[in-house]
């Protein structure tokens, strides 16, 4: 095993971000529960936030933190509206399976 570097390479952070993003995509594609699908989207947003903060470190600018903050705000708004939509769908159809909610097909 090679010795650990003194400072963490910036590519490690970006690779971790890519791993988390791909796991979020996998959850989005494979899970059938609409709430879990929604949480996978939050995981993808978090992975992109990590990239923003990492590039902010690399460029020595604070702008990446600002973008990350805006992503958080938009995620909060999205969670509020999305969960309200899920509540309404459940009230009308009594199901959380995304395959069951297909009235927009065709």
């Amino acid at each position: 095993m090679p010795p650990l570097p003194q400072s963490v390479p910036i590519a490690w952070y970006l690779t971790l971000s890519a791993i988390l993003f791909v796991l979020g995509v996998a959850g989005f594609l494979y899970r059938r529960n609409v709430i879990t699908v929604f949480m996978s989207i939050e995981l993808m947003l978090n992975a992109v936030n990590l990239s923003f903060v990492t590039f902010s470190y690399k460029l020595k600018e604070v702008d990446g933190h600002i973008f990350s903050f805006f992503v958080m705000v938009v995620a909060a708004a999205e969670a509020a509206v999305g969960l309200a939509i899920i509540l309404t769908v459940f009230k009308n159809r009594q199901t959380l399976e995304i395959d069951e909610v297909s009235s927009l097909r065709n």
């Binding site: 910036i10 996998a26 708004a77 009308n92």
Partner: protein, 166 residues
């Protein structure tokens, strides 16, 4: 020391993310997502983002995940019963995702200069003072527009959750 801390929290984040995808019960997935967010907050601190780490814990792990768990409990959501129907999707999906991950990792390793390393304390302009100064000078208009967005989201959530749509 930096590398040990990074590897520790990266391992926590990846294990919790895998758990999120693998678990069938939504509550287990939600708790795994809280673990991912906590580990990411620690990584933000290592990168010098004090404000963003605190906001991550308060907004994401605190507010948004509580909202998720409220909805899961309100709807009494149980474990998933049905597996994915199309079997070819199951077999083609994982290799394609691994290929995507390999491509992105390759691009990151080749395009990003290897000389830049992250040390704790190497970037000290992520405090609430600096973020606030940038937010209220250069990014004032987006910040104000965001407040309108939040207002619309509140109204939308109230309208949607109040009554059934015919």
């Amino acid at each position: 020391m930096d590398a040990i801390l990074f590897l520790l929290f990266a391992a926590i984040a990846v294990i919790c993310a895998v758990n999120l995808v693998v678990q069938t019960h939504p509550i287990s997935s939600a708790l795994s997502l809280v673990g991912v967010m906590g580990a990411l907050a620690a990584l933000y601190l290592l990168l010098g983002g004090e404000f963003i780490a605190a906001a991550q814990l308060i907004v994401y792990a605190g507010a948004i995940m509580v909202l998720f768990i409220f909805v899961i409990m309100l709807l009494n959501a149980g474990a998933e019963h049905k597996a994915l129907k199309k079997s070819w999707v199951k077999f083609a999906g994982i290799p394609l995702l691994v290929a995507l991950l390999g491509l992105v990792s390759f691009l990151v390793q080749t395009l990003i200069p290897q000389t830049v390393g992250v040390n704790f304390g190497g970037f000290t302009h992520g405090t609430a003072l600096d973020v606030g100064r940038a937010l209220f000078t250069a990014y004032l208009l987006p910040f104000e527009v965001t407040s309108v967005l939040i207002l619309i989201a509140i109204l939308g959530a109230i309208v949607l959750a109040r009554k059934e749509i015919d």
